[in-house]
Subunit: 155 residues, 2 copies
C-alpha cells in the first residue's frame, strides 16, 4: 500500500512536470506529502517568474510552509521527478523534510548523489532519507523530449 | 576607488544585517550592485516569511531579477556579510552573478569555501569571482552578539 501511494505521489509530480513543460518551463515537478495527503505541488517556474530560484522543489516548500504557517516541514515527504540540485538539496534539509523520493538521476546538475552531495557533508544538520528511481524512466523521458523539441525548434 | 566603493557596499550589507537582527532574524545582510549602484538589498527574513529559503542572498537575487525583469544578473556583484550556504551559492551561480564579496567565513554552514564547495565542483556551470574577508570582523561580531543575547535570554 505504501508503495502504491508512493507511486501515486510520484505520478502527481510527473503531472506537474508535464504541466511545466507545456508552459515552456523545464519539465520538472514536485509534490509535498504529509499524513498521506498532498499539501503542496509545483512545477518549475523559473521563466515565468524571472527567478532562478523558482525550481519545483523550492516552490513546493514555500507553498507548504505558507499553508502550514511553519517553515519546518517535519514529517513531510517530497516527491520530485529529478534529482534535486545543490540549492534544492539544501532547502530540503533546512525545511527538515523527512523523506526525499526522486525520479531520474542528474549527473550534471544533481546535488544529492552527484556534485557536492549535500547530505553527505559533515556540516549537514538534517538529511532526509533518500529514495531514487521511482518513475525514473518517465521523468527522464519528459525532460529528454522537451530538450529535443527545443533543439529542433532552434535548428 | 574600487576598494572604497566595495567597502561602502559591504557597509550597506552590514546595515541590512543589523536591521535583520533588530527584527529578530539571524543578522545576515546582502546587497546586489550593478553599474556602481545598489539594485537590490535584503536581510534574512526566514522567520517573518516562514520560509527557509528567505536568506538575504536569495531575497536580493529575487528582488534584483524582478526589478530588471531578467532572471540572469549578468555583471552584477553580490556583497553579503556571511559566506553563502550551499543553497545560496548555487542560486548565485544560476543567476550568473559576476563577483561575490563576503564578510565572515562560515565553517559550519558555508558552501563556498567549506562544505560542498559548490563552485569547485566540475558540474558547476558558472562560478563568480570570490573575494572574502571584507567587513569580516563586524559581520562576525553582529552574529556573535545576536546568538549570545539569545542564549542569555533562554537561560
Amino acid at each position: 500500500m505504501i508503495a502504491r501511494a508512493g507511486k501515486g505521489f510520484m505520478a502527481a509530480a510527473i503531472e506537474e512536470a508535464r504541466a511545466a513543460g507545456a508552459r515552456g518551463e523545464v519539465p520538472i515537478g514536485a509534490v509535498l506529502v504529509k499524513d498521506g495527503e498532498i499539501i503542496a505541488r509545483a512545477g518549475n517556474e523559473t521563466r515565468r517568474l524571472n527567478d532562478v530560484t523558482a525550481h519545483a522543489e523550492i516552490l513546493a516548500i514555500r507553498r507548504a510552509a505558507a499553508t502550514l504557517a511553519d517553515e519546518r516541514l517535519v514529517d513531510a515527504d517530497l516527491y520530485v521527478t529529478l534529482e534535486p540540485c545543490a540549492m534544492c538539496a539544501a532547502a530540503i534539509s533546512f525545511a527538515r523534510i523527512r523523506r526525499l523520493y526522486y525520479g531520474a538521476e542528474d549527473p550534471k546538475g544533481g546535488g544529492v548523489d552527484h556534485g557536492g552531495r549535500f547530505y553527505a557533508q559533515p556540516t549537514c544538520h538534517h538529511a532526509p532519507e533518500v529514495y531514487s528511481g521511482i518513475g525514473e524512466a518517465e521523468s527522464a523521458e519528459i525532460l529528454r523530449a522537451f530538450f529535443q523539441e527545443r533543439r529542433v525548434a532552434e535548428d
